[in-house]
């Protein structure tokens, strides 16, 4: 380092006014030096935790850890805050091994190092042991197309089972403000009111599930998470899943980042709007949404920002998603359009296809999967249904789709929709 020259006033940290500013905070444009930034970042997450009573003294909480930036920063910050503010929480790292060579095995090495660095217990639950199938073998059997669906269903259950195994009823994930903003926009595009209602809540739990999930980074900018990791020299893993590379291209993610460029506060402003939406959705939608809870959809879900998968998992949408959404909507609309009376001059419309009512969230009664005991609204849970298909080497089994309460991440329901369409097209709906 060259000897310290006097720093021009315009380059000074706006907080301590002594060090050189290195960070421009997206939500306030405030210019901060490194120590002031780190401390502001940490204290805001602390404020989020305190204001929402996220943790209770003496509890054990699992951190869904993928080795990626979000969960790594989450683990690091939680350890710091736990010590600094005496939360009295025992944090455990919970990782999912999907069984993807050249990707997950490497990122798990990162998690293993993190466990040592943060002095946290690490539990790894693998698809192989839970389901008898690794993602490598799933892809070998069904090909790359649609593999994220399997991965998503498997992951959601795996996280629950991992937590259960640890005797833990609270899993924190690394979802950040960008993820939530994207999910809000995607749910608007998709017209998914139940998810729009709940996607901004910091904690999602339900009476029928023993495991709550929460997002302590919900107000943290992805930019600041990366800067935090960078300035703290955290050890994280940033390779794309080999089965869904470059999922961010052409997606709502691109729109979010463009908005951030135009007005950096936009991301938090969207989260704020999303919080307003959740109060603006009629109680029926809430109620039915709340009742349909529980089991994850066939969608790629959760985990992400915590337990892996940057495609859908963190609420990120993939480029192909819009196309699938359009197809799903068009199918739905051709039913709706038929109900509009034909114009006088036009020959009476022949009934178009079958009239499809807009998908309503059905009320569901939850019971245990007859095969594995996991909570489900069907006889078999989704994982078992998929497994049945895999095991019979008849991969494209249709899965009855319904919304799951914690299934709020952007891509999930859409993929379910798509999946249903593809299946319908292929005429193999069960």
């Amino acid at each position: 380092m060259p000897p310290a020259l006097p720093i021009p006033a315009s380059k000074l940290c706006e907080s301590c006014r002594s060090a050189r500013a290195l960070i421009s905070r997206p939500k306030t444009h405030q210019k901060l030096c490194k120590p002031c930034f780190l401390s502001a970042f940490e204290s805001e997450i602390h404020a989020t935790i305190v204001s929402t009573n996220l943790f209770t003294q003496g509890s054990r909480v699992a951190i869904g850890a993928s080795g990626g930036k979000d969960s790594t920063v989450l683990a690091s910050v939680l350890r710091t805050l736990n010590e600094r503010h005496g939360y009295g929480v025992e944090f455990v790292l919970l990782s999912i091994d999907e069984g993807i060579k050249g990707y997950r095995d490497d990122s798990l090495e990162t998690v293993k190092r993190n466990a040592v660095q943060y002095g946290m217990e690490l539990v790894i639950v693998s698809y192989e042991e839970l389901y008898g199938w690794s993602m490598d073998s799933v892809v070998e059997s069904i090909g790359k197309k649609g593999n994220c669906t399997y991965c998503g269903v498997f992951r959601r259950q795996a996280l629950d089972r991992g937590a259960e195994r640890l005797g833990i009823n609270h899993v924190v994930t690394g979802h950040n403000a960008d993820d939530i903003a994207e999910t809000v926009l995607m749910n608007l595009l998709r017209g998914d009111l139940p998810r729009l209602h709940r996607c901004t809540s910091i904690i999602t739990s339900s009476s029928s599930s023993p495991i709550a999930r929460s997002k302590p980074l919900k107000y943290a900018y992805e930019k600041e998470i990366v800067l935090y990791a960078l300035h703290q020299k955290l050890d994280y893993f940033s390779t794309e899943c080999i089965y869904s590379p470059e999922a961010f291209r052409g997606s709502a993610r691109t729109l979010i980042k463009a908005l951030e460029k135009v007005r950096p506060s936009a991301i938090l402003d969207i989260v704020r709007s999303g919080e307003a939406f959740s109060r603006m959705i009629l109680s029926q939608a809430q109620a039915s949404g709340a009742k349909s809870l529980q089991e994850s959809g066939v969608g790629v879900d959760s985990g992400g920002g915590g337990a892996g998968c940057n495609n859908g998992g963190t609420g990120r949408s993939s480029g192909g998603e819009m196309e699938d959404m359009e197809k799903a909507l068009l199918a739905e609309m051709s039913g709706l359009e038929a109900s509009i009376p034909p114009l006088p001059s036009i020959a009476p419309g022949k009934p178009k296809k079958m009239k499809q009512t807009p998908k309503k969230i059905r009320e569901q009664t939850m019971s245990n999967c007859t095969r594995c005991g996991y909570l489900t609204s069907q006889k078999l849970c989704k994982a078992c249904t998929l497994l049945e298909g895999l095991n019979k080497n008849r991969p494209k089994t249709a899965v009855e789709v319904e919304a799951g309460i914690e299934d709020e991440e952007a891509s999930s329901s859409l993929r379910r929709g798509i999946e249903a369409i593809k299946l319908a097209e292929e005429g193999i709906v069960n």
Partner: protein, 405 residues
């Protein structure tokens, strides 16, 4: 007329209209190819369906059979010209069938030449429009700076194209000062939109109109839904996109809400009976602005959303409609309450922006006080508390300005 470029270019062989099976198709409506006649009928039916409330009233059962007064803001863009044309057809039909009409229009163009000298004042365009659609009602051109007149409600409002008399120059400067004080292009565009809405609703009340008929298409409503979400104004989306009572004391109606922007772009070139395009004096300007916006950093959130939905509309029209349907299912908290209005947009406030302003002042310390020209922190808090979050965000960091309302 061959199908326009918006149609998938797969088929070069002329496709027949799916409804009449006689004429060549001019447009592909998602799944249905239509000829120009059938497309015209389709477009009319979409608008008429929304205008059902304003059919001719009979006595009985209606007690009051006089035509309702409706205000139509006309920007000379594709949408508002199309809406005027469609309303005119409906009006003429009513007249022909019953010798009476269910409504009369007050057509208003807001002259924004004060803030953009390249924009023509609009009288000439208005005259051309009036010649094409005579007898529908009144045609007015109102200067945007006239909004400063509303603050002193005692004075009569000069609707005249001559402007606001002696004080006109003063208002113009105030308006320019206001927009110039705002920190970013996004803020300026946001506040400009608010000024237009407030002027138009003020005029509607003044002219005893019971509703404002906005020209917004499905596409535009979807853009607005996402743009307002991104500006932190999610709470106000029902007031900005749905038909019915607005908090401004007049009803809002969006008769083109079931039509896409790209559909209207085709429609204005059809012979109905002669193309509407030549009347769309503002359209070229809209396109020009868009191109300009695409370049460089000066783009606003609204423009970004316009671009985004242009892409979406091309490939995924059902998604556009779905956004609007979704927005329609949101209900405002507490309905149209009359208390706690935002002093900028005039809508009932959400939690408010006090926190935002105060937060920023505390954090920015001196520099912010310098900018505001005063060191009084309470003022910031007070101001923030009298604004909704979205407006507080837009005027955050602004230089001193005089708010007209």
């Amino acid at each position: 007329m061959a199908e326009q470029n918006i149609i998938s270019n797969e088929n070069t062989v002329p496709t027949l209209c799916k409804r009449c099976s006689i004429s060549p198709s001019v447009i592909n409506l998602r799944t249905e190819h239509l000829c120009s006649d059938c497309f015209d009928k389709y477009t009319r039916s979409k608008c008429i369906k929304r205008m059902e409330t304003y059919r001719v009233r009979y006595n009985p059962p209606d007690t009051d059979t006089s035509p309702r007064r409706l205000l139509l803001p006309l920007s000379f863009g594709v949408s508002s010209i199309t809406l005027l044309h469609l309303l005119n057809s409906q009006f003429q039909n009513q007249l022909a069938r019953t010798t009476r009409t269910g409504f009369v229009l007050v057509v208003v163009h807001i002259d924004e030449s004060a803030i953009d000298p390249t924009v023509p004042p609009g009288e000439e365009s208005m005259r051309a429009v009036q010649e094409r659609f005579p007898g529908l009602g009144e045609y007015l051109v109102v200067k945007l700076e006239g909004i400063y007149e509303f603050s002193s409600a005692v004075k009569a409002f000069e609707i005249d194209t001559g402007g606001g008399g002696g004080e006109g120059g003063d208002w113009k400067e105030k308006l320019k000062g206001l927009l110039g004080a705002l920190p970013t292009p996004t803020s300026r565009m946001d506040v400009l939109q608010i000024l237009r809405t407030r002027l138009i609703t003020g005029l509607a009340r003044k002219h005893a109109c019971e509703a404002v008929l906005w020209g917004d298409t499905t596409t535009r409503l979807a853009e607005r839904t996402l743009a307002e979400t991104a500006k932190g104004r999610g709470f106000s989306i029902p007031w900005q996109t749905s038909d019915g009572d607005s908090p401004y004391g007049v009803k809002f109606l969006y008769p083109l809400r079931d039509l896409l922007k790209k559909e209207l772009a085709v429609y204005v070139s059809l012979d109905v009976p002669t193309p509407l395009r030549p009347l769309c004096f503002g359209a070229a300007e809209e396109e020009g602005k868009r191109k300009y916006a695409a370049v460089g950093k000066g783009i606003t959130i609204d423009e970004l959303m316009t671009q985004y939905f242009e892409g979406i509309e091309k490939q995924y029209p059902s998604i556009v409609a779905n956004v609007v349907r979704t927005a329609g299912k949101l209900v405002t908290e507490g309905g149209v309450v009359r208390i706690r209005r935002c002093k900028i947009c005039g809508l009932p406030r959400d939690g408010g922006g006090g926190e935002l302003v105060l937060d920023a002042e505390t954090k920015l310390g001196e520099s912010s006080s310098e900018v505001n020209g005063n060191g009084n922190r309470n003022r910031g808090k007070k101001e923030g508390d009298s604004m909704c979050y979205g407006c507080a965000r837009s005027v955050h960091g602004a230089k001193p300005y005089e708010w007209p309302l």
